[in-house]
């Protein structure tokens, strides 16, 4: 939806923002309609039926079931359209596409630490290419924060003890506000920055221009080795006393209690800090907890490493600069594996 000509609407710069705006205009329309309707009728009655002599008593009216039904059912139906529309966009908004490029975000009083899969780090700035799907995996080292990009119409709390995600696809190059939208203490209003959406070729330039550090997956592999995870899960995550980690990400995992669960970021994180919470079928509760031994950022790096353990591409291979493909999906992003994971 093209909205740049409408006043009081912030820049609309993601594939999602137009959809949210459309719903917003619908809601505004209904609100204005009902507000005008009610205040119009009110004013009309108040003038027309003003008290003309102090002794008049109007004829009492009891009510009307027909009217009551009418003005319950109609608002209900309108409300349901709002619900359905809102829920539909929300659902789309909450499900990151599988081919999105990941960016790791860690909130901390009062700054945003950002790391790209290619190793670049930024603080309070996020550079992204236009036309590519980006997925933010977010954690926090202290209190709850909230990553809010008004121009993209997205926000999500960043909650200690777990991961949350956001995804978007920028449509217009530009520099946009980044706010922390959950009150987080003294300098909450200073926890701001910008999101810079760039044309893909500018972005590539930016990537190669900024100093690239070790990629998170490589760093994660090192942590994996130093913490001794390999003794149970094998040096390449092939599995020994513990289950194989190759290809586990985004797959269905069968649990000891008969249920199954999708191995998303939250699950992997929980498996490391609180292994007993959900036991993989066929394994005992022998894995020790690593809570307190790894920082939030290190956890994300381990996570990046585990994600990189895909069946066809063993080892943490990550191109330094993703090459855009016709579909707008960077080819170097870890492709979702279609090979079923071998059970324990």
């Amino acid at each position: 939806m093209q909205t740049s000509w409408i006043p009081f609407v912030p820049p609309s710069a993601s594939t999602l923002s137009g959809k949210v705006d459309a719903l917003y205009f619908y809601l505004s329309g209904v609100t204005i309609f009902f507000t005008l309707l009610i205040s119009g009728v009110l004013i009309f009655f108040v003038i027309k039926y003003r008290r003309r002599n102090p002794y008049e008593i109007p004829r009492p009216v009891a009510g009307s079931i027909k009217l009551e039904t009418l003005w319950s059912v109609i608002p209900f139906i309108i409300a349901m359209t709002m619900f359905a529309w809102g829920a539909q966009i929300f659902f789309e908004q909450s499900r990151p596409p599988s081919n999105a490029v990941e960016v790791y975000v860690v909130g901390k009083q009062w700054m945003w630490k950002i790391q790209h899969t290619t190793g670049q780090r930024e603080i309070n700035e996020l550079h992204v290419p236009v036309g590519r799907r980006i997925k933010l995996v977010m954690g926090t080292e202290d209190v709850i924060h909230d990553f809010f990009i008004p121009a993209f119409r997205i926000k999500a709390d960043v909650v200690p003890g777990r991961y949350t995600t956001l995804w978007f696809e920028a449509t217009k190059a530009g520099r946009y506000h980044l706010f922390c939208a959950e009150y987080c203490g003294m300098n909450h209003s200073g926890m701001i920055g910008s999101v810079v959406a760039m044309e893909p070729k500018d972005f590539d330039e930016w990537l190669s221009g900024s100093s690239s550090q070790q990629s998170p997956a490589v760093a994660g592999q090192q942590i994996y080795e130093t913490l001794g995870c390999a003794s149970c899960h094998g040096p390449a995550g092939e599995g020994r006393r513990g289950p194989a980690l190759v290809g586990v990400f985004a797959k269905q995992v069968f649990l000891n209690n008969g249920q199954s669960i999708k191995a998303d970021e939250a699950y992997i994180r929980e498996s490391i800090v609180n292994p007993q919470a959900k036991l993989v079928a066929g394994f005992g509760p022998i894995m020790p907890t690593f809570q307190g031994q790894v920082s939030e950022e290190q956890l994300m790096q381990i996570l990046a490493f585990i994600k990189s353990l895909q069946v066809q591409t063993p080892g943490p291979v990550m191109a330094a600069s993703p090459v855009p493909t016709p579909s707008g999906v960077p080819s170097a992003a870890p492709a979702a594996s279609s090979t079923p994971r071998t059970g324990p």
Partner: protein, 95 residues
């Protein structure tokens, strides 16, 4: 709301039933039932005991309908608190 006097015999038998319930629940706790049955058994016994206290010691069995409504609504609101909170926790991993 004229008042109903519960005979002593009833009080005594309720008391005995509660004692038996306590013994049973302790014994059952050491039995290893399959699945979540341990929890179910323990909670069922607790609910039965609580119901006996409410109905007889607290005279709800002989009370006005309003009192029944009040008791039911307390349970209903507890149900809301639990059901909707767990609607979050149980479905978190679903996406």
């Amino acid at each position: 709301m004229s008042e109903h006097i519960v005979p002593v015999k009833v009080y005594v038998s309720i008391f005995l039933a509660l004692m038996v319930g306590t013994a049973v629940t302790v014994l059952a706790a050491f039995q290893d039932f399959p699945g979540a049955l341990n929890v179910i058994v323990a909670m069922t016994i607790a609910v039965v005991k609580a119901t006996l206290v409410v109905l007889y010691f607290m005279h709800v069995r002989y009370s006005a309908r309003l009192i029944w409504v009040i008791v039911a609504s307390a349970l209903f609101w507890m149900g809301i608190l639990f059901a909707l909170t767990f609607s979050d926790y149980w479905t978190r991993g679903w996406l």
